[in-house]
Assembly symmetry: C2
Homo-oligomer: 477 residues x 2
């Protein structure tokens, strides 16, 4: 009757990369495509992205952002207008050179990010202080042809994201947006992905190509690697000068505008999956789980009607949740239990004829895996309690993982040890490119993640200068 | 104080193309980009697309469709797998040939439509009758490098759409989806865009490249041209055979699957704008209008507080609608009236100190332009009534335009006259390619639009065969 059950073939703590890759496909979240580095978001993972997108979008609209849509293609001469920007992105650009049989007279970049296609319009639209602030966002696909090994969700050549592009009359107004945006992203990570991250400025070297500074939210994976989450860039007047975005202020004086950009990407799904999943499969945060509660009936022909009736009643009582009664004839209950575990459904309810008689169900929470017997009249209350508790547990685990991975260091020796132990160093740092290069070189590839709000102590981990900040250092995914 | 008001420079019935182009930009719906044929969806037009998208998406989910996301790029060898399909699309494909400094070993098509990147995955996923039906949809951007003159929304090289791609075990099940989808699209056009269209099969020659048949919704523009709206394609087993999408049925027999595809695009915004707009600007259907009611206060300094207080009270009473109190100091009331007309806001409410004293407002409906005095306690009721009536009026106008443009013809002479008069012929037709070519040639470019459900009468408009159908013929946008 049942098809073979899909089982993850590698244990998470034995080979987390293989475990992740196997899980992605068997849980039917992702599929590889025949375009190297580009992935398929299957319905379950796209559903989760939709929830994250809609929740973020709602918060954006509450603070006054509006959505728009700009072209996919960027003429080469536009991409080249801001010097640091083009240097940062050109090596990874996918270029359109032909249309039908026609050779194009100028190459078109498939957008790696949209500054350089949006800002010529901004320059036309913004004339007066009355036109500011202009706070536009778009949800779209971008392409960065990285040559590193691609990993579903984590590092793909095409990915989905939001890109906010806002313009203000003054630096102060622009910078006041930082906390609004970082708070939104932090909330989304916590509420929807049960993920803990730390916000801080990137080093001079690691900031966005073209930005004055970048604030990122850095997270830590059970693989012992750091990974960057959503980020915010204050661009100062760099792009405004390159694209001539100026306005007449109230006194009639011409001024360049001040700009920010910010983004959250589909990578957060990968971080969420790798952080919470276990050897049996996904463990999904309830708010983004496509199915929050699966009800699995167990019956013979003579008890079918009784059991299914009870399932329907229970589902009705949970109607504010996403409930699936798995009454498919062609699969056995055992197969369905495994499937629910593989797919990470937060709550599983089993019900057979004897349960109906005893007015009870068996309930299993995905992360604990223990069976508990629950009276039918208590099902709703118990489900809501367990869901809330599951969210707290997942988030606390994520926070614990981060905090237990951080080790404060004073010097080179301590730094080296922490990196070798696959942990994250918090090191005193002068924020100079030379010392940053030294860190990367010396540690065999660890990079500064972002700057902590802790007070700097002592000398830079490398040079003789006094540290200006405490920086997180780790190997990155 | 006020900036110069933007005025549409051409009258709609003098030069509808210029009027449309001017309106697009002045109403701040669209901007041209520096990539020829690619447009910017400014916040107001993107807002309208979001409403259409969300409403359509909700209806799709109600009938069981799920969203997913497949890669932007299609390897050339995949695009070529279905013969008619590649013939239809290859001349308009934008090709990526380079990534960074690297020449790619195989060209990648920027998707003009996603059959050929989705179906290799479908072939892997579908093994058994248990895996069917598979009903997936995606909302994305596609590129068709047309060499005709681009027009914002109407004909752009990049556009936004949904593409539904569904797979069934039997032809009957597949075909049963047709009415579901066509009904959804018809409802969306009516409810959200106040547009009337007629659904019918495309001729053999005009059907989608690779389909067994296409059903389109055809509309008629005030410019005297027909235009195709959303469509549905039944692909039979054409793609299933090309991409080896097969399954074991309940008897264990291997069968090829049956497929459909369907789409609604951002073109509907262009049709809506061109149909309803007038010499003063846009006239927006209330359900998609970014602002449904604009309240414009008129005051001197000593009455400011009283008037603004009243505006807030009125806005509060309309809180289920999208209301904007235009209390900007830097624009005059006259400028605001014009702006509201240009932007097509369905209802405008004006209120000055004397109105507050008399417990009344002045209300103007965008399409009628006449002022009516309304008691404050009747504002909500009147607004709701006027909005409903505006929707009915716009839809009825669209339907009348279509119906009054159709003329039934018997022969070549009558056909020629109707096309010369910029109307739409309903002609008896044999549905053979030769006669279709003759129609296009003879009329200087008119094409069959779709097939009416009217019974065929007499001989084909061109040949001696009995007509098999009555077909709409018109020049198309």
């Amino acid at each position: 009757m049942a098809k073979d059950n899909k089982v993850i073939e590698v244990k998470k703590d034995e080979d987390i990369s293989k475990w992740y890759t196997d899980l992605m496909q068997k849980s039917e979240l992702a599929d590889y495509s025949d375009v190297s580095g580009c992935m398929v978001f299957r319905p379950d993972s796209y559903f989760m992205w939709e929830i994250i997108q809609q929740a973020t979008d709602k918060k954006f609209k509450e603070i006054g952002l509006k959505n728009a849509y700009f072209p996919l293609f960027i003429p080469e001469k536009f991409l080249a207008k801001e010097e640091e920007h083009v240097e940062g992105f050109a090596p990874e650009v996918a270029w359109v050179t032909q249309a039908g049989d026609t050779e194009l007279s100028e190459r078109l970049a498939v957008r790696p990010t949209s500054e350089t296609i949006m800002y010529p319009s901004y320059s036309k639209w913004i004339k007066s202080w009355r036109d500011l602030p202009l706070r536009i966002n778009q949800w779209n696909n971008v392409v960065r042809w990285e040559f590193k090994h691609p990993v579903a969700f984590m590092r793909t050549r095409e990915f989905l994201w939001n890109e906010g592009h806002t313009v203000f009359a003054t630096k102060e107004e622009a910078e006041a947006e930082k906390d609004q945006i970082i708070d939104i992203y932090t909330d989304i990570l916590k509420e929807y992905c049960c993920l803990y991250g730390v916000a801080g400025k990137k080093s001079e070297k690691e900031k966005f190509a073209g930005a004055e500074y970048t604030v990122s939210i850095e997270m830590f994976l059970p693989s012992g690697k750091a990974i960057q989450g959503p980020d915010f860039h204050h661009d100062g007047q760099n792009f405004a000068k390159a694209f001539d975005i100026n306005f007449l202020d109230k006194e009639g004086k011409k001024e360049f505008a001040w700009q920010n950009t910010f983004a959250i990407t589909t990578r957060v799904l990968g971080i969420m999956i790798m952080t919470h999943g276990d050897d049996k499969g996904l463990v999904l945060p309830p708010k983004i789980a496509p199915t929050q509660v699966v009800i699995i009936p167990i019956f013979r022909e003579d008890s079918k009607e009784t059991v299914l009736d009870e399932c329907t009643k229970i589902a009705d009582s949970l109607k504010d949740l996403r409930v699936f009664i798995d009454d498919r004839d062609s699969y056995s209950p055992g197969w369905k239990f495994n499937q629910a575990e593989l797919k990470g459904t937060p709550i599983r309810i089993e019900i057979g004829p004897r349960d109906v008689e005893n007015n009870q169900v068996v309930m299993v929470r995905r992360d604990k895996g223990e069976k508990q017997t629950v009276k039918i009249e208590d099902v709703k209350e118990t489900v809501l309690k367990e869901i809330e508790d599951l969210e707290t547990t997942l988030y606390d685990n994520s926070k614990k993982l981060f905090e237990e991975s951080v080790v404060e260091v004073k010097d080179e020796n301590e730094l080296m040890k922490v990196i070798q132990d696959k942990k994250m160093a918090l090191a005193p740092f002068c924020n100079q490119d030379d010392c940053e290069d030294w860190i990367k070189d010396k540690t065999g590839g660890a990079t500064t993640r972002n700057i902590s709000d802790k007070k700097p102590k002592g000398k830079c981990v490398q040079c003789d200068k006094d540290a200006t900040c405490m920086v997180y250092v780790a190997k990155a995914y």
